[in-house]
């Protein structure tokens, strides 16, 4: 599966694509939408930086609350360092900016594992009031440890999240962070972290306000589940999301054998490879306690080779 849709909404605001240079459409109120500023991956008529300059001229940016960076030119080969620089340079013109997403591209534009990212932490330094940061694409993504007082939600959607990034997030001090969503991906696409790299996150020591944790889309989803089963942070969570990965009976058994999960409001395991007996036990254990359990199998289907090798896939790889 690939990413098929652009963001429809972001930071509680409907997404609105800032129109091209030739359009004469009326623009919405600056604080009423999440502005999507985009170029094209291929044959761009206008580079992202130019589109952004037009945006800064056309919109009262002092009221803009949410920005979505769409496609930049040749994103399959090019880090968006110019995008990050342009955003940082515009910091004084965006005093109300609270939410930023970098890389809202669908598979037709650039498959998630082909999107080149960059060091996104300068954005956190430039926008100390930012409450939400999202990125799509793991190649060349960097996240050296930071301290940020305001960030409440951090999302990294990848087909392979580099171990250095996982460690950087774990080593960051994010006292306001409530919602962490990491798509760990597969080693084929640079997702080279191991379950032990998650330990600083799972201890919760630097994430005192964390309530919603998603560690998903992982080829090692069983190992993640096993690590989560005894993780201190879990007692504080309302939502635990281990969906989209290669979660099998092994991971399900680890969850059932670990600490109680009955305090959760939601346990999301959709797109999984768990057999019926263990699904039944999960349901019997958690649902009477009021846990919303999501176990839609989706398109999680095993393939078997001629030699008997079974292949299982994460939800978003490519």
């Amino acid at each position: 599966m690939t990413i098929g849709d652009h963001l429809h909404a972001f930071h509680g605001l409907p997404a609105f694509t800032f129109p091209g240079p030739e359009a004469k459409a009326d623009l919405p109120a600056p604080d009423s939408v999440a502005w999507r500023v985009t170029s094209d991956v291929y044959d761009a008529d206008e580079e992202w930086e130019s589109a952004f300059a037009r945006f800064l001229d056309a919109v009262d940016t002092t009221a803009v609350r949410a920005l979505i960076v769409g496609a930049w030119q040749e994103a399959y080969d090019t880090e968006p360092s110019g995008v990050v620089e342009a955003l940082v340079a515009a910091r004084d013109r965006l005093p109300a900016l609270r939410a930023l997403f970098v890389g809202d591209m669908v598979g037709e534009e650039c498959e998630i594992s082909w999107i080149h990212q960059t060091d996104v932490t300068p954005l956190l330094a430039a926008f100390p009031a930012l409450e939400e940061l999202g990125v799509r694409g793991g190649t060349q993504l960097r996240f050296p440890a930071v301290r940020h007082e305001a960030l409440r939600r951090l999302t990294m959607q990848t087909g392979g999240l580099p171990a250095d990034v996982v460690r950087g997030v774990g080593a960051s001090d994010l006292p306001a962070l409530e919602h962490l969503d990491l798509w760990l991906g597969t080693p084929d696409y640079g997702g080279d972290s191991e379950a032990s790299d998650l330990e600083p996150i799972l201890s919760g020591a630097r994430l005192p306000r964390l309530r919603h944790l998603a560690l998903r889309n992982s080829e090692m989803q069983d190992a993640v589940a096993a690590a989560v089963a005894s993780a201190p942070v879990v007692a504080r969570l309302e939502t635990l999301d281990l969906s989209m990965g290669v979660l099998t009976d092994e991971g399900a058994a680890a969850l059932l054998g670990g600490q109680p999960l009955t305090h959760l409001k939601t346990l999301d395991l959709h797109h999984h490879y768990i057999g019926e007996p263990l699904l039944e036990r999960l349901s019997q254990t958690l649902e009477p306690a009021g846990v919303h359990l999501y176990v839609d199998r989706g398109d999680a289907e095993e393939d078997q080779d001629g030699d008997g090798t079974v292949w299982r896939y994460v939800a978003v790889g490519e």
Binding site: D5, T17, E74, Y76
Partner: protein, 409 residues
């Protein structure tokens, strides 16, 4: 006999007996109150080197596909799932068409020769200012692509990191590869072509992804002797999370029928997992992107107008990401198989399927004259129709733009 006609029009169809296309067209002819068409099987045309038609017979050609015997005669292969043989098919088919003599024709041998050569078709569309994806293989003068090395060279020279490699004479996604490349030697091809260990190529119902350049080269090298057309891959717009394109049928100059096809892969063909999408939603997406739906249909009509002696074509229209721009992917001579789909509002084909619309248009072109004052019930056009019945050949501000998606805003 239809009242008001001095003599009933009569149709003949060149097609494969029992094929549903032929059946659907015959049904439409009979529904118009006319005798069923005379069927001339392609197998007979190929055996006899042609066929003769009466001067007043209205002659429709339908696809010679989906018939193993005819396919063997045209392509020279025993297995209809084999990919190879499309160049031979082209030569045999165009020559068979030229052997059809007499009648009132709804098709044209020269138009067909262009429609079944993607390189020539691309050049004709581009010359007419119809927006098409850029191609280094457009037209008869373009360099031949003799294999993967040639394709690679053209990709470098034309900075085409992402492209479709198509058989020049292929149809229905046969022999199509969607190729994307990036630095560091990364490459991937998405295709329904299956390379057998012995080097033969098969059309598969399963989409495959090749990431080993040697495998991609082997497939392309095996396809190349039949002729290849390269085209830039424009990122398509999406609908409900799936890549979308449109098939728009143009009958006698007017866009009459349209469907959206959506897919989770770059290939939207229905037999490869494509699904019908929602046309109203597509139309709304176009309008909310600041473009006009009538302009989208006009692009299809301008593509069809490149083939004025052909009554009906099916245009594959590619909406670019964001739905603000479109380009024409292909124009199909036999692109009217959309059973039970009725015409677009304001198209003049409301309530008619593609076949009934063609019967009505054929009678307008070739049917016996109606008696003045008694209009043919098959030939009613809404005089208030804003869409117009003319070929929209008027110049367009963006007509000179080819090689990228076409602004319709």
């Amino acid at each position: 006999m239809t009242p008001g006609r001095p003599a009933a029009a009569r149709f003949a169809v060149v097609g494969n007996p029992d094929n549903r296309r032929v059946t659907l067209f015959a049904d439409a002819v009979r529904a118009a109150g006319l005798p069923g068409p005379r069927l001339v099987p392609w197998a007979d045309v190929l055996r006899d080197g042609g066929a003769d038609f009466a001067p007043d017979e209205i002659v429709r050609l339908d696809s010679p596909g989906e018939d193993a015997h005819v396919d063997r005669l045209l392509r020279g292969t025993d297995d209809p799932t084999r990919v190879e043989g499309s160049a031979r098919w082209y030569t045999a088919f165009t020559s068979a068409v030229r052997g059809l003599r007499g009648g009132l024709r709804l098709d044209d041998p020269d138009d067909l020769a262009v429609l079944f050569d993607k390189r020539r078709c691309h050049a004709v569309l581009a010359a007419a200012g119809v927006p098409v994806p850029a191609s280094p293989t457009s037209g008869p003068g373009a360099p031949p692509v003799r294999g993967w090395d040639d394709a690679r060279a053209l990709m470098r020279e034309h900075r085409m990191a992402r492209l479709f490699v198509k058989l020049a004479h292929g149809s229905s996604a046969s022999g199509v590869l969607a190729v994307e490349s990036a630095g560091g030697g990364r490459i991937r091809a998405t295709t329904s072509v299956e390379l057998a260990p012995d080097g033969r190529l098969f059309n598969s119902l399963r989409i495959r992804r090749y990431t080993d350049e040697r495998q991609i080269a082997a497939v392309v090298d095996a396809l190349a002797p039949d002729g290849l057309h390269l085209e830039r891959w424009l990122p398509k717009a999406s609908q409900r999370g799936r890549a979308a394109d449109l098939r728009v049928v143009v009958v006698d100059g007017r866009a009459t029928h349209a469907v959206v096809r959506t897919s989770a892969s770059p290939l939207t063909n229905l037999h490869l997992g494509g699904r019908r999408g929602d046309l109203d939603e597509a139309r709304a997406a176009v309008e909310s992107a600041g473009a006009r739906w009538t302009d989208v249909l006009a692009v299809c009509e301008r593509a069809a107008a490149c083939f004025p002696r052909t009554l009906c074509v099916g245009v594959d229209l590619l909406p670019a990401v964001g739905w603000r721009r479109v380009a024409v992917g292909e124009v199909n001579a036999f692109g009217d198989l959309l059973p039970r789909l009725t015409g677009l509002p304001g198209s003049g084909a409301e309530g008619r399927d593609t076949y009934a619309a063609q019967v009505a248009a054929a009678l307008r072109r070739h049917g016996p004259r109606s008696t003045p004052g008694s209009p043919d019930p098959q030939d009613v056009d809404d005089p208030g129709d804003p869409h117009g019945k003319h070929h929209p050949l008027h110049p367009h501000p963006h007509d000179t733009r080819t090689g990228s998606a076409h602004a319709i805003a």
